[in-house]
Amino acid sequence: MKYESQRVAMPYFIFALILFAGQIVFGLILGLQYVVGDFLFPEIPFNVARMVHTNLLIVWLLFGFMGATYYMVPEESQTELHSPLLAWILFWVFAVAGTLTILGYLLVDYARLAELTFNEYFPTMGREFLEQPTITKFGILLVVGGFLYNVMMTALKGRKTVVNIVLMTGLVGLAVLWLFAFYNPGNLATDKYFWWFVIHLWVEGVWELIMGAILAYVLIKLTGVDREVIEKWLYVIVAMALITGIIGTGHHFFWIGPPEYWLWLGSVFSALEPLPFFMMVVFAFNMINRRRRNHPNKAALLWAMGTTVMAFLGAGVWGFLHTLAPVNWYTHGSQITAAHGHMAFYGAYVMIVLTIISYAVPIMRGRPYGNSNTAQIVEMWGFWLMTISMVFITLFLTAAGVLQVWLQRIPESGDALSFMAGQDQIAIFYWMRFVAGAFFMAGLVVYLGSFFIKGAASPAEEVRGPATADA
């Protein structure tokens, strides 16, 4: 850690991990409700648990991105953060607002929450992933705005690196696209169209820029490869992400009202969306092969490799599986979508945040070369347990989805099973998914446990040729 103000990243990372644990608890509740339908009913109905599960994910990833940014930007721009105090204030505002929102979901009826937060005067609630009360949405806008101001002022007064430029573009895009969360017309078809401006253009657009920037930063630090080489890769990767991903939004416009040309545009461009993820895999492994040093933080390196592979599988391969319009006609809104969603979010965004945490947190704790060997081994156990569990969650959901499509979608009306009759037929896969989810939870416990193991890695770095000065 070269600048004292980078330390404000720490509370962001800690809080992110706490929310991550909460997300998984609610994931298990949901998984059980799929097979034991009345589990926790009426105390925590499915829709409430799901809202908590998805909103915790979004919020903890935002905490992770912010922590990553606060850590990276001062070091990249070679100057202290503009205002560590502002970063601390915004942390508490976001943490309190986020916690209150989640408690609101759990403690009062959703309709009552809408009433209490005056949703009728500015209705934005009740849309998937955008369930937050309008006032929370303004809170997020305020926090992200203040955060952007803080890091922009930092980035502008110091060295301009490609990592910073790409990261800033991604974050500005995140903030601007969030504005569409406030647009909720009475026409459902229009509502849905612009809803995707937040959802798709975040996860298949600007978030990829954030991911690319974090990955590039960590690879510069861990491999010592010349910044010029890494920055060139980064530009090409994020270029591909936007070139394919923006028109790729069209794969969501197939069946919600927009005209037929989107069937072609959405299919062709989203079929190319795996490319940037594939390039990330090649990029990471290439840089590691060409490394100038063997960094003692092996766990961080594992996360960096893992995130590219899992993002490629989850977002790339599982996305491609059902993105072509003739396939999506059958699979749209089935468990195949759920399978893709789980692995894509885990691979791309959960793992990239855990990558930067694995790299940065030991440094902030006074362990510049990483955690002790024991702690790293435990962390890697956490990595493998969570990652393999997620692979199985995805496979079981895919099997459930294929059967669901086979029973409910493919036969003609009259022969097709009803939704609930189909669900009963595929319950075995939901059970297996729940078991895989329990293993994921075990992996998370192991992972979190690794933070409590004392000791640091030894400073010896095996150098393979001259490492660059600023890495």
Binding site: L188, Y235, P259, L265, T337, E412
Partner: protein, 149 residues
């Protein structure tokens, strides 16, 4: 990557490519929203009642269990075409079906998925029914493949 491929070339692909595709996306959005959608979303039938129904749909977080036009949660049946599935395409039939259904919830059958009772008035249930009927008539390229949704 070959040395001939410089960082500034990479940057230009990033900037040029993004700007081009953002502009293309905005142009397509304009065409979709201004030219195409009025023909496809039957907005001439978008009454106040339908809008009230949409707000009820949102205020009770229906999308937290159900999908509508394939989007939402996958815990409970698709409702984009429920007007055809349960109402047989008839407004009055659908309204009475909706009243019977909403008031029968929850079933409390042990082990089965439960839908809460949202304590809606008859008028509110009619608003919700109007919203679902209107939704079922959006031209969505003939999705879903069959009546089961």
């Amino acid at each position: 990557m070959a040395e001939r491929f410089t960082k500034s070339m990479a940057r230009n692909i990033y900037l040029g490519g993004s700007v081009f595709f953002i502009l293309l996306f905005l142009a397509l959005t304009l065409d979709t929203q201004v030219r195409a959608m009025p023909e496809r979303d039957n907005r001439d039938q978008l009454t106040d009642q339908v809008v009230r129904g949409k707000h009820l749909w949102e205020d009770n977080n229906c999308v937290g269990c159900h999908s509508i036009m394939g989007e939402g949660a996958y815990f409970a049946p698709e409702l984009g075409n429920v007007f055809d599935r349960r109402g047989g395409g008839d407004t009055e039939v659908f309204k009475s079906y909706m009243k019977a259904w909403m008031n029968a919830m929850p079933t409390n059958v042990p082990g089965r998925r439960q839908m809460p009772n949202f304590n809606l008035t008859d008028d509110e249930i009619e608003d919700l029914a109007a919203f679902l009927e209107w939704t079922s008539k959006i031209d969505d390229n003939d999705w879903p493949p069959n009546i089961e949704g």
